[in-house]
């Protein structure tokens, strides 16, 4: 890694390190410590809310679990704080896991609503339990010790807190910049595309939820040893809401924005608590009103928070050079040409009374390009969805290499080696073109959360990115590699989806109207690419409207009309088929 890339970070660390050595007022250190503690929780929320598209108002309760775990163990049982640290984190994870399991399967808004309810319930619970000292809490918690040195003063625990903040922030950045991270970032776009390439959506959601719970518990552990006492108040719902405010204000998609947001909110809170009572003449905690308005105004005017504005002021970083990789990813052995690959047998899909696909049977053989055509509403896309597991069959079955795959989820279908594009392109506009394509290679990597967090998967990641870059060059989008995918034109996005499908190393690619929006020259290039795939032994099933494009390309043509198969065979024969002519031109043939 180049030293210039590390320079801003190192400067930041040095700056943070010298603050306590300067003659600053003591309350500055108190605020900075609180900012550090809040930043930890907020980083978790950023991953959950801004990146994963979920949210929680109950993170303060997870702080409570971390804090009470160490408080009880270190006061009642004299366990060393260093031993309670892993225990606190495990308790945080152990609480987050079941709570996550029951909510992540529901649509997005049930999780936050659930967190409001248990945020309240747990606050009351903390205040009722004798072991936890009821509402008085637990005091006399020992400080953290390293080799006889006790972290007692604000100035010393400061280093401990900010060490963890920086470590967690870097870890979170690492996690997002990995195979697992791409899956997490895909959640926000609905996750359908990610699932079609083998990302386990439920697991990705659980991962961020548990991560957020664990870092909140870490913050709680630090809080307990900083404050040396705990009581239920800082773990109530209002703190939980404040943490979310920090994430929103800072910029809910940015890890560094979390620290920024925590700083803004806590400094503002301090100022309000000191100056507002004189200003309005009441002692009422008026900051609630200000925070509420701040939250709504931020969402109205800067939905991505304030961090992007800071980023604009900073000099732009150059795109990271692509890591080089000598390893090649293993390739799938393809079935011998002519053997049955996908076999659809009497597939039927009814939406209520409407039969969208009516007992359709056809076959895709290895090494074939098969076209699926028909007028609008003929059931072509529905057939695609039946094969890829997005829609469930009403009756009939689908086989892959002779084995039934009826009822398989999109993720299992992807594992068979079936990759697809979507009629309405599903890309992640904020991610770079390269990352979008690399999402396709998800199943070809194996690194998990921990290796990604510690950046131990760089070698594998490099091969995945190299593969993605190769597929991009192959489809002719190499020049756009580092641009956000949202910058591309519609036709290019369709090609991007093809590159993504190819990086999955598929046995079959299912292309849903790949030529729509392409210019004539681009269509010819696409046809050349598909022919080349056929030579390599990859099969293609495509839905297309452009007859000229289809006729010159496919080996076998299947024609649907009103959900029913009306003709199939060689393109030249099908073209003359009376039912096909009637369906396309209308009237009596």
């Amino acid at each position: 890694m180049k030293i210039e890339r590390l320079l801003p970070g190192l400067a930041g660390i040095v700056f943070l390190a010298v603050i306590p050595l300067l003659p600053v007022p003591p309350f500055w250190l108190t605020i900075l410590n609180n900012i550090g503690l809040a930043s930890l929780v907020t980083i978790g929320l950023v991953l959950l809310t801004g990146v994963g598209g979920l949210t929680s108002f109950g993170q303060a309760a997870f702080c409570g679990f971390g804090a009470y775990t160490t408080a009880v163990l270190s006061t009642n049982y004299g366990v060393s704080p260093w031993l309670t640290l892993p225990l606190s984190l495990i308790v945080g994870a152990a609480i987050a896991l079941p709570l996550g399991l029951i909510t992540v399967r529901l649509s997005g808004h049930f999780l936050p609503l659930g967190t409001i309810a248990w945020g309240l319930a747990l606050y009351y619970l903390f205040g009722k339990i004798d072991l936890l000292g009821r509402y008085d809490g637990i005091s006399g918690i020992p400080p953290v010790e390293v080799a006889g040195y006790r972290f007692l003063s604000d100035g010393s625990i400061y280093y401990l807190i900010w060490f963890f903040v920086i470590a967690v922030a870097i870890g979170a950045k690492n996690l997002l910049d990995s195979r697992i991270g791409r899956g997490i970032r895909a959640l926000r776009g609905g996750g359908q595309a990610a699932e079609a390439f083998g990302v386990n959506i439920v697991r990705a959601k659980l991962t961020v939820f548990v991560f957020a719970g664990v870092v909140a518990a870490l913050s709680g552990w630090l809080y307990a040893h900083m404050q040396r006492s705990v009581n239920p108040t800082p773990f109530g719902l209002s703190m939980g809401i404040e943490y979310l405010l920090m994430a929103v204000v800072g910029g809910s998609g940015h890890v560094w924005g979390a620290i920024f947001g925590a700083s803004i909110v806590l400094v503002l809170k301090d100022l309000l608590q000191r100056f507002l009572p004189d200003l309005v003449g009441t002692t009422a905690n008026f900051e609630m009103v200000v925070f509420g308005i701040l939250l709504v105004v931020t969402l109205q005017l800067a939905r991505d928070g304030l961090w992007p504005f800071v980023l604009k002021l900073l000099p732009k970083r150059r795109a990271r050079p692509l890591p080089t990789s000598d390893d090649k990813l293993a390739k799938r052995t393809l079935a011998p040409a002519g053997s049955s690959l996908i076999k659809v047998e009497k597939a039927r899909k009814a939406f209520g009374g409407l039969v969208a696909v009516n007992d359709v049977s056809f076959e895709v053989r290895a090494g074939q390009v098969v076209g699926l055509i028909g007028p609008n509403g003929a059931g072509k896309s529905t057939t695609f969805n039946l094969i890829t597991g997005i829609a469930s069959l009403t009756s009939g079955s689908v086989f892959y290499e002779g084995r039934p795959m009826t009822g398989d989820s999109p993720r299992e279908v992807a594992k068979h080696g079936i990759a697809r594009t979507f009629q309405h392109a599903k890309i992640l506009p904020d991610m770079s073109v390269l990352e979008n394509v690399a999402l396709g290679a998800h199943l070809r990597g194996s690194a998990g959360v921990f290796r990604s967090f510690l950046r131990l998967e760089r070698k594998q990641e490099a091969t995945l990115l190299a593969e993605a870059a190769y597929q991009l060059e192959r489809v002719g989008l190499g020049a756009y590699r580092d641009r956000p995918a949202g910058d591309l034109a519609l036709g290019q996005i369709r090609i991007l989806e093809i590159a993504r499908a190819l990086s999955a190393d598929p046995a079959v690619v299912l292309l849903d109207e790949p030529a729509a929006g392409l210019r004539h020259g681009e269509k010819q290039e696409l046809a050349t690419l598909l022919k080349k795939l056929r030579e390599e032994g990859v099969s293609v099933l495509l839905v297309e409207h452009d007859m000229g494009f289809v006729m010159g390309l496919v080996d076998h043509l299947v024609v649907l009309d009103f959900g029913t198969l009306i003709a199939e065979g060689k393109p030249a024969d099908v073209r003359k088929h009376p039912a096909v002519v009637a369906a396309y031109l209308g009237g009596v043939a």
């Binding site: 809401i241 929103v248 009422a284 109205q300």
Partner: protein
């Protein structure tokens, strides 16, 4: 005997939660807003009624005038690139004249010692327009946002409204006089007239909502918006109008709930939130979609609360809010995986 008392208590509170739950389902289905601050309308309503009982001019009217003025500024801002005179006049009438008139009426009537029904109606009159202003100020600029963003915004609105409640009403709790003092004996059961009012109002509002949605054009427009926002716009439904309508209705229901609950329990500036959340538990059981299930679930929440406050009083809140966990498990198992739009 204790059981019948607990049941009566539970059903009475449950009826209030039902009103809140219905308002929440109404708002969510029409505007996709998960309206956390619904409870604040309840607290505002109860506190306003209590202040009117004391012959005082409630601070809520100043709040109403402020809300109206801010909404007017928002309208002005969105009209900055040319506006037609009609829209301007409509904005002046709705945002400045209406709250001003309510302010005047209240200042005149408050010291007169009105009959309790008149005070209740005046309270509802004061609170109801706030719904429209809250929509205009907080939610209309976010109309295109996701459910999640709207939910986070709701929490902001809740904080602001609760804080304003503290500023305007102070930290002390107030209790209103009951609408009617009498008690009836039905067999061995003693029923207060106030609980009868609550049952009556709840049933009337449920029937009213049913008729509104089934029989009126505006109600049908609201349902259309709920099903498909874009589609409704294409056939000429003004979706902003449906948003205003839904919020106004919700504020009115909140005010009614406040007037009903004010006399049976002491209300503080932050009580509304807890009451509102219990309505939420019911609304979530109804999947934020079903009116009848929400109403029945609300009665259930009321019963659980009254029984747990008797048998395990210190764990009352833990039990009521913990109730949501099994509900979510059940929803998770019965609905399976939901794809976000």
């Amino acid at each position: 005997m204790i059981a019948t008392f607990l049941i009566q208590d539970g059903v009475t509170n449950g009826a209030i939660y039902a009103l809140l739950g219905l308002a929440l389902v109404l708002l969510f289905s029409v505007t996709r807003v998960i309206f956390i601050p619904q409870g604040e309308f309840v607290a505002y309503g109860a506190l306003t009624l209590a202040l009117l009982d004391g012959g005082k001019v409630p601070a809520t009217i100043s709040l109403l005038v402020c809300f109206g003025a801010i909404a007017f500024l928002f309208d002005l801002w969105s009209m900055r690139r040319g506006a037609d005179a009609r829209a301007f006049l409509r904005s002046v009438a709705l945002n400045l004249v209406l709250p001003g008139a309510i302010y005047g009426i209240t200042v005149m009537l408050a010291p007169l010692g009105l009959p309790s029904v008149a005070k209740a109606l005046l309270t509802i009159l004061i609170i109801t327009p706030m719904g429209a202003y809250v929509y205009r100020i907080a939610y209309r600029p976010l109309a295109d946002a996701s459910v999640l963003v709207l939910l986070i915004a709701s929490v902001g609105v809740h904080l602001a409204m609760m804080g304003l409640g503290l500023v305007f009403f102070g930290a002390e709790g107030l209790r209103a006089n009951p609408l009617a003092d009498d008690n009836f004996n039905i067999g061995s059961l003693m029923v207060s007239a106030q609980s009868l009012c609550i049952y009556g109002a709840t049933i009337a509002i449920i029937i009213g909502l049913y008729l509104f949605f089934e029989r009126t054009l505006l109600g049908k427009a609201l349902r259309a918006t709920a099903v498909n926002r874009l589609g409704a716009r294409l056939v000429g439904v003004r979706t902003h109008l449906t948003g205003v309508t839904a919020f106004t209705l919700a504020a009115a229901i909140g005010a009614v709930s406040g007037v009903l609950i004010g006399p049976i329990t002491t209300i503080y500036y932050d009580t509304g939130f807890l009451i509102g959340l219990k309505g939420f538990v019911a609304a979530i059981i109804g999947g934020l979609a079903s009116f009848p299930i929400t109403a029945i679930a609300a009665i259930g929440v009321g019963l659980v609360e009254s029984f747990s406050s008797f048998f395990a009083s210190s764990y009352k809140e833990v039990i009521v809010f913990g109730l949501i966990i099994p509900v979510l498990i059940w929803l998770s198992l019965s609905h399976g995986f939901h794809e976000e739009e």
